[in-house]
């Protein structure tokens, strides 16, 4: 029952907002935050049940297994923090006259539809429903990307729509090829039905099908060379939406690929999927390292960081063994750290009214909270202690040390280049002389509170993982460690 509520609540909230007038914008914000808090509470109640019983079922097509529950937790956490931050961020934009109340209402309506689609994708046991839901995430976010109604935003949104739709249609082709088996061709297929038939799948067909799925959903993740929409979209979308695309939607797309990876590994009993993961992982990390120095826009910089982090996660799953658990944990840490850094970027935009890095100087003096938090968030994302990403990166790379030493060496070199690239930009943002006449201070309280909460949570989870969460991650990783 609780799972049904979890899936339905964002949709009900969206319907509720649709009936409200734009003048009730404060009430809409509160309703969205309350709904997101409830979603987080639901998933926190469901997780112990998933751990003890191995899953929670709502119907034949909807249930949460450990992997689904883990990604749901990331979605719910992202929703909670992003809804809180969005209220403050949009309030500041309304006060500055950038947008009106109508836009705020539209934003929250799409925001909740986006979450409905994501919860649907993670909680379904049907690959086709998952495809429908992930396609719905593209549709619900298209208008959020063109939110500011400028030429560049429309251009970015069109690019996002076309490239992601193309990718998703390829993943549909892959999905249908998985289902095109003599004993499976009719009805409503679930992952468990497919797993049971794994032995009867034709290996060569499954290889082709998996490539289509990986390329299709990989477009959504933004693996190089399928990433071209990402920097444009992140730089033009409202900052909380860019945060969600990077920290939450990326993991939903990963979930889709991981489900097929598990199935493919069961059929092939070989390293086929792992090697593809390593290939895309390395390509994404190396490409980000090469392009990082020439970035001029801090939101585009974060997009490349997202591509690099997706590459690292793929590498962890590709290496297998302890790398799988580390990659799952990395998904959580990255989601929190990336949301934190994007929210900080939002505060920079509110202060400097620009996303170009040469316009942003002396941030440490002008933004007393966001400045230091940006520094700390970068430290976290770059994988330095005391943050958990340090440990997950170390574990992921050590998992591949024995079988792929040259790959690991290359990745370490690329990470070192990325470190210097990010640091160069960070120094330029934080220090230097602030623009003339700029007054020191942050925007409203609601743009600061999520930073403090997120940083606190990231630090706590870096040092202490609750027993239930670590059990959930272990269970989630079990099926994914096959053939590694």
């Amino acid at each position: 029952m609780l799972l049904t509520f979890l899936i339905a609540l964002p949709l009900l909230t969206a319907c509720f907002i649709a009936f409200l007038e734009a003048k009730h914008v404060r009430f809409i914000g509160k309703a969205v935050f309350l709904s997101s808090a409830l979603e987080l509470a639901f998933i926190l109640v469901l997780i112990p049940r998933v751990v003890s019983d191995g899953g929670v079922e709502a119907s034949a097509l909807f249930s949460l297994d450990p992997l689904g529950a883990f990604v749901s937790l990331i979605v719910a956490l992202g929703g909670f923090f992003a809804s809180l931050y969005s209220v403050g961020y949009l309030r500041a934009e309304v006060e500055k006259g950038i947008i009106g109340n109508h836009r705020v209402r539209q934003y929250f309506l799409s925001f909740k539809l986006f979450f409905f689609a994501m919860f649907l994708a993670v909680a379904t046991m049907s690959p086709v429903v998952m495809w429908i839901a992930i396609e719905a995430t593209t549709l619900s976010t298209a208008f959020l990307i063109s939110f500011y109604n400028k030429q560049s935003a429309t251009e970015a949104a069109w690019k996002y729509l076309i490239i992601n739709s193309l990718g998703l249609l390829l993943s549909l082709l892959g999905t249908l090829l998985f289902l095109a088996l003599p004993d499976l061709r009719e009805g409503s297929f679930t992952w468990s039905m497919l797993r049971e038939s794994a032995g009867s799948l034709e290996p060569l067909i499954i290889k082709i099908a998996f490539v289509f799925v990986l390329v299709g959903y990989g477009t959504k993740i933004g693996f190089v060379p399928l990433h071209t929409w990402k920097p444009d979209t992140y730089s033009k979308a409202p900052t909380p939406i860019a945060a969600l695309l990077s920290s939450v939607l990326l993991n939903v797309a990963f979930l889709a690929i991981l489900r097929f990876k598990e199935l493919t590994d069961m059929t092939l009993q070989s390293n086929f999927t792992s090697e593809l993961f390593i290939f895309f992982g390395v390509l994404s990390i190396v490409f980000s390292a090469l392009i990082i120095f020439i970035q001029k826009n801090y939101k585009r910089l974060l997009a490349y960081s997202s591509i690099e982090q997706a590459g690292l996660i793929a590498l962890g799953f590709g290496f297998g063994g302890i790398g799988v658990t580390a990659a799952l944990l990395h998904m959580l840490y990255h989601a929190l750290a990336k949301a934190l850094i994007f929210f900080t970027a939002g505060n920079i935009f509110l202060k400097y009214s620009s996303t170009k890095m040469h316009h942003v100087t002396g941030m440490i003096r002008m933004l007393p909270l966001s400045g230091p938090v940006l520094f700390v968030a970068f430290i976290a994302l770059l994988g330095l202690p005391p943050f958990g990403i340090f440990m997950t990166e170390f574990l992921m790379l050590s998992a591949g040390m024995e079988r792929y030493p040259f790959v690991v060496a290359g990745v370490v070199l690329a990470l070192a280049i990325l470190f210097f690239g990010f640091f160069k930009h960070l120094i330029a943002l934080l220090f230097g002389t602030p623009p003339d006449g700029m007054v020191r201070g942050e925007s409203n309280m609601l743009t600061q509170l999520p930073l403090v909460l997120l940083l606190g949570l990231l630090l706590v989870l870096s040092w202490y993982l609750p027993e239930t969460l670590s059990m959930l991650i272990r269970l989630a990783g079990e099926g994914l460690s096959l053939n590694s």
Partner: protein, 219 residues
């Protein structure tokens, strides 16, 4: 009956393939709509025929929905869009006509290559049909890359979706009715959103040519 089925499958596959080729080469937006209509009619017709042969009512429902949405509804909306913005001619291809034809030929050869040979297992006794379907898919993808017009790109996505669904139907993959309707619902929403964006692009850029959309590069 079996021989007739084979011939029908192949004929429909061939018509769908030829429409994807035509979509690459036509110069006016109206022709784009007409060929998309023919392609959608092939999909709807095949689903309807399959529904009758197999006595499957859900397939007939899906065929009816496909017919009403893709063959009747979408072309009417698209025609209105073209009339409203007076964009009779589609934007050019990036590549010249001979080069486009050469790439089309290479894509067809690729779909008949060893790479996709294992997929022949999915359609035993229908040699030649699957490569034709794959060629339609690859050509639709190429259309997205080669066409400069936003309207052509939209038709390219819809043509790709038609090609994939036709391939799946030939293979014999059938979803429960609710899931089929879910996919169709997604496509309808996609069409509506794409049309809204096309209107926005025309209002903001004064053209539907994606070549003129250079704000992201300039920034």
């Amino acid at each position: 009956m079996l021989e007739f089925s084979r011939e029908l499958y192949f004929s429909l596959g061939l018509v769908a393939f030829l429409t994807t080729i035509a979509l690459q080469l036509v110069k006016t937006n109206r022709s784009l709509i007409r060929f998309y209509l023919v392609q959608s009619l092939v999909v709807a017709g095949f689903l309807f025929w399959l529904g009758i042969v197999e006595g499957d009512r859900s397939l007939m429902v899906v065929a009816f929905l496909t017919l009403s949405i893709k063959v009747i509804g979408a072309p009417i909306f698209f025609s209105r869009l073209i009339r409203r913005y007076e964009t009779r001619f589609t934007a050019n291809n990036y590549l010249s006509a001979p080069l486009t034809l050469l790439i089309l030929l290479l894509l067809v050869l690729f779909s008949y290559s060893q790479v996709f040979l294992p997929l022949g297992f999915l359609m035993p006794g229908m040699i030649g049909l699957l490569p034709l379907c794959l060629a339609s898919i690859l050509i639709s993808i190429f259309m997205l890359i080669n066409r400069r017009g936003a309207f052509s790109q939209m038709i390219g996505i819809l043509s790709l979706e038609n090609s994939i669904l036709l391939t799946a139907s030939f293979i014999g993959v059938k979803q429960a009715l609710a899931l089929e309707m879910g996919i169709i619902f997604d496509i309808v929403i996609w069409m509506i959103i794409a049309q809204v964006f096309i209107s926005m692009i025309y209002r903001q850029f004064g053209t539907l040519s994606v070549d003129k959309m250079k704000r992201l590069i300039e920034e």
